[in-house]
């Protein structure tokens, strides 16, 4: 009994170290980003604001109409939050996919579990998503819109962000070994950015016609369903048809993430060998 107890304590200590190291690495990465970029985290705001401003301007010019109404405000909010979330989703995928390549020196030179590097990016992702959530909430009154007064709306808002986060770290981790071997993966991710923005409900409301090809396309798009649910939740409207696909994506993401994490321990030495010195 005492033997199994001490084994349990050892395992707990091991996990504590792995998680602690993940947090230290995350703080280190954030610090480096701040040191190496004059504007630091301001870029989180600059790019979506630029997109939203362009969207607002083009829409107004095309419609030639007054853009001061609440409908126009919700359109701008959807564009602003959508761009910001997709940008963050992409960054998280790229960061996770490039994890082994970026940290190959540390993986070779230090006795740190690979899981700590994954957790570091996951922690950074939580911070990044939290910053975006605050910015979206701040944008609502700035655009002259009403904040949702129901608790359920806020809960769904949080669930949508969590689902987006889970799908991003899952896709990134699934791609990580392949991205270590083939740089094409990064080119692929980068070239997917614009199509993803265009097919996702960012510049237009989510299609809810089940016979539409775009609806079917958005079912397999991990970003589309949370964005659709999020837009409805913030407006205090009925939950979208995309709720179930979003939850399925969430569950699948957790399963695939855990599976990839388990495989990683044996994959990393193979990859370090193939990367050479």
């Amino acid at each position: 009994m005492s033997n199994s107890h001490s084994v349990g304590i050892n395992v707990l200590h091991k996990y504590k170290d792995v998680i602690g190291n993940g947090w230290i690495l995350a703080l280190r990465n954030i610090r480096i980003q701040i040191l190496e970029h004059a504007l630091g985290y301001a870029w989180t705001l600059i790019i979506p604001m630029l997109y939203a401003a362009c969207y607002f301007f083009i829409k107004r010019e095309l419609k030639g109409a007054d853009m001061s109404g609440s409908e126009a405000g919700w359109d701008v909010l959807r564009a602003f939050s959508g761009i910001m979330i997709v940008q963050s989703w992409m960054l998280l995928v790229v960061s996770m996919a490039g994890m082994i390549r970026r940290h190959k020196g540390m993986l070779r030179g230090l006795n740190i579990s690979t899981i700590s590097f994954v957790l570091a990016i996951a922690f950074e992702g939580v911070i990044a998503i939290a910053i975006r959530a605050i910015l979206i909430i701040a944008a609502i009154p700035i655009l002259g819109l009403d904040l949702p007064d129901e608790l359920s709306a806020w809960l769904w808002f949080a669930v949508c962000l969590i689902m987006l986060y889970l799908s991003a770290i899952m896709v990134g981790l699934l791609l990580a070994p392949w991205a270590t071997l083939y740089s094409d993966i990064f080119k692929g991710i980068s070239s997917m950015r614009l199509p993803l923005i265009l097919i996702s409900p960012i510049f237009y409301p989510a299609i809810e016609r089940t016979d539409s090809a775009l609806y079917l396309l958005n079912l397999v798009n991990p970003v589309a369903s949370p964005l659709a649910v999020l837009a409805n939740a913030l407006r205090g409207e009925e939950l979208s048809l995309y709720l179930m696909p979003m939850l399925v994506w969430g569950g699948l993401s957790v399963v695939l993430f855990v599976w990839s994490l388990k495989k990683l321990r044996r994959q990393v030495p193979i990859l370090l060998e193939r990367m050479g010195s």
């Binding site: 020196g105 070779r108 230090l110 392949w178 083939y182 193939r274």
Partner: protein, 387 residues
């Protein structure tokens, strides 16, 4: 003594082709993904064996040198032992905590200061609070890079980075310590500090090291293996591995025959023996005495090297018509050493009547203290007069 490392029938292969290498890795990843065993124990197209049937054991207190030429498989062996590379056949059993100095500057961010990088490294190895502060000050003291410790690492010279890396990595108490060419860093003074640190660690651990410096190996190792094209050609006394290394080297190019066991010597000042790494003052007179263990008459040459290894002076016994016969002891007065302050070493070679070099000693390191005027090593004193 407790057995800490066991390597049994270790085989490791590599591919010479980049595309084939990626292809094989992709297959291995897919096999791993479906939970199948690697199943790639045989050579595939473009692959070669980097290590073949390596077997040895290492006990606490032992220092094993892995000797061999570039491409012999030395670093691959160390990376396999460290668990950084998968093995294709055989097994490695490690008992106890593993420490390695493979990529010492790993994880140092160029934009962060040395202090911040060391602090992160310390926290990653589990140090907190006072223990972390002690670790940082120990590293700062050992690295000895003064105010640069608080400057971003991107402004460091390569020597400074190496100092910081060694200092940050060597503050540990492992059971098995793996060292890959780490002693080739920094200046002589720093290398001396590295020796002392490794000496401390090895008392409680099993050490396995790779170095191309036969002096380092001769000084540190208690046992050795000589690797040639991935195969263990010899396993045993370090001196024999060094001799094999020099013989093999000689087959490519005529070179120094190391055999430091052929000479024993001491350096004295005022009839007092100077300790290894001892200090002398500018202009002090040195003497040299010793004995050689060879069967033929020889002439001796004592070389004086500056910090970087360049020879700045030689005392050749031929110039004094001195020949040393077997079983004779010898002494040589080297005269006043007008050397500018810094680190130096002496080495001795013995040459037979045919002109063949029979041995080369282990270097004797010392430091000269005094006023510093310029960087030129040898500063003879002239008799100055006003005319």
């Amino acid at each position: 003594m407790e057995e800490l490392l066991q390597v049994e029938g270790l085989w490791k292969k590599y591919s010479r082709s980049l595309s084939a290498s990626a292809r094989y890795a992709a297959r291995d990843l897919l096999r791993n993904a479906i939970g199948a065993e690697a199943g790639n124990e045989e050579l595939r197209d473009t692959e070669f064996w980097s290590l073949r049937e390596v077997n040895f054991t290492l006990r606490r207190g032992e220092v094993m040198a892995v000797v061999g030429y570039n491409g012999a498989g030395k670093s691959t062996l160390l990376k396999c032992i460290a668990g950084k590379l998968p093995v294709d056949r055989g097994k490695i059993v490690r008992r106890g905590k593993l420490g390695h100095l493979l990529e010492m500057s790993a994880g140092f961010s160029p934009s962060m200061t040395g202090r911040d990088n060391v602090s992160v490294r310390g926290r990653l190895i589990g140090k907190q609070g006072k223990e972390l502060n002690r670790y940082i000050s120990q590293v700062a003291e050992f690295a000895d890079i003064d105010e640069f410790f608080d400057a971003p690492v991107q402004f460091y010279s390569s020597g400074m980075k190496a100092r910081l890396g060694f200092a940050a990595s060597s503050v540990m108490e492992p059971d098995i310590l793996i060292l890959d060419e780490v002693l080739a860093v920094g200046d002589l003074g720093f290398r001396m500090k590295c020796y002392s640190r490794i000496d401390e660690i090895r008392k409680k651990s099993a050490v396995i090291l790779v170095s191309h410096s036969m002096g380092h190996i001769s000084r540190l190792a208690t046992t050795s293996i000589f690797l040639n094209k991935g195969k263990v050609v010899f396993q045993g006394a370090p001196q024999k591995s060094i001799a094999l290394y020099n013989e093999a080297k000689g087959s490519k190019k005529k070179a120094a025959n190391f055999k430091p066991e052929c000479i024993r010597f001491e350096v004295t000042r005022n009839h007092k023996v100077i300790e290894e790494n001892g200090v002398i003052l500018f202009g002090e007179e040195l003497s040299f005495q010793g004995e050689c263990f060879v069967d033929v008459p020889i002439t001796l040459s004592i070389f004086l090297h500056e910090q970087g290894g360049a020879v700045i002076g030689v005392w050749n016994s031929k110039r004094s018509n001195f020949i040393l016969h077997p079983s004779q002891r010898f002494s040589a007065k080297l005269g006043p050493q007008n050397l500018s302050p810094g680190y130096y070493h002496l080495s001795v070679i013995g040459i037979d009547s045919q002109g063949e070099q029979l041995f080369l000693s282990i270097p004797f390191n010392f430091r000269v203290k005094g006023d510093f005027y310029n960087k030129i090593g040898h500063e003879p004193i002239a008799a100055w007069n006003v005319l």
